[in-house]
Symmetry: C2
Subunit: 197 residues, 2 copies
DNA sequence: GACTATAGTATCAAAATGATACTTATTATG
DNA sequence: CATAATAAGTATCATTTTGATACTATAGTC
């Protein structure tokens, strides 16, 4: 089962296939083949469902739903069009019908956010830092501080500026950046205890 | 397949069943039942393998190994004895034969370390702060700063001191603490970019 | 041109971190 | 018994990180 996410209309959206007359979100599914790797099986399912191999993908868990179901979390860039017969559904609405699988996928995205380039893969090759921050805010479900976000991001040498600027409606144009990780993070910082009790 | 971890002899160890004449580590396995929840299936497997339900458990992934294999990561307190027919094997040695499954389990433990009480569950009900720090160091594979570790831990209100002290060999006795989370962490801190490029 | 909206920067105080060194309490050794 | 050794736990302080606030820059709208 594929939980393929993108950003659409400023919200996280998941790919849903149009069931026969059903209004509930349905995630694309395929039988797990008995041969080949699971990675390959995930690619096959993705290609059938989205028409392309996702730019990021991870196992999100296994569910018992009328048999054993593996959930694959996947990510495609904002702007990817859904193939006919499927559409992007805002996660809030989709949760109602496919809650467990979608939740597993989102949890996987959140958990990997600081270790793998999930947010960058949810964006086109070039993007503004405000867009990037919005993706982080979507996935973390909280507001981030603008100056701190940029300072930390730039200090991590994960992006490089391009020559291009984008003027979007009102205010000052934003510079476009490209994901271009330079250095490994050498210094490890202290432990965090975010336990909820 | 069960990757059940504990701390033994100052190292992370995984439960291995003694195969017929095999020296290689073998993780306990059971067929996924067609009925019931996966959580229950994990408990059944654990009870058969360790003689008890683990104090912490999580899905660690799915592997394609001569058929589809689900890996369950589990944790039992230090000092738990392995049932006859099985033994604790230091992770370093066990990795050789069951690398993928064990690695998936360790990754799960590490990823959850700051959000779920994995380290506390690897210890008996009461423990010293040095022991706790050692568990964190084992799982994170790096040294931590003593004063910072304690400051942060106490500020998180996750442990409470007991009246008991333990004198272990030489130096000053250590106070025993109990896992007793008090408050939810209200403040969220800034984003970390630990991407490896 | 004034107003508003958004990008991006600067400054500064507060908080978190890590190094170092210190104190305390115990066992080992002579 | 005195002293050394060892480990727990604490204190101090400089450095780094963080977040609030306010600022400048550049565009569109009225």
């Amino acid at each position: 089962m594929l939980a393929c996410f993108t950003v659409a209309d400023g919200a996280l959206a998941v790919l849903s296939v149009d069931g026969a007359g059903r209004r509930r979100a349905q995630l694309p599914t395929a039988a797990v083949p008995s041969t080949g790797t699971l990675e390959h099986a995930g690619d096959v399912l993705s290609r059938a469902a989205v028409g392309r191999v996702p730019v990021w993908r991870a196992q999100a868990g296994a569910l018992m739903q009328d048999g054993l179901v593996l959930v694959v979390a996947a990510v495609v860039p904002a702007g990817t069009t859904a193939p006919t017969g499927s559409r992007w559904v805002a996660v809030d609405r989709a949760l109602a019908s496919q809650g467990a699988a979608i939740q597993a996928g989102i949890t996987m995205l959140r958990d990997r956010l600081d270790r793998e380039p999930v947010a960058f893969r949810l964006l086109p090759p070039t993007f503004t830092l405000s867009e990037l921050q919005q993706v982080y805010e979507l996935l973390l479900e909280r507001r981030l501080h603008k100056a701190s976000f940029r300072r930390t991001l730039l200090a991590a040498h994960l992006v490089e500026p391009t020559e291009a600027w984008r003027s979007e409606g009102r205010g000052r144009p934003a510079q476009l950046f490209r994901y271009s990780p330079r250095r490994r993070r050498g210094v490890q910082r202290s432990v965090r205890f975010e336990l909820m009790g």
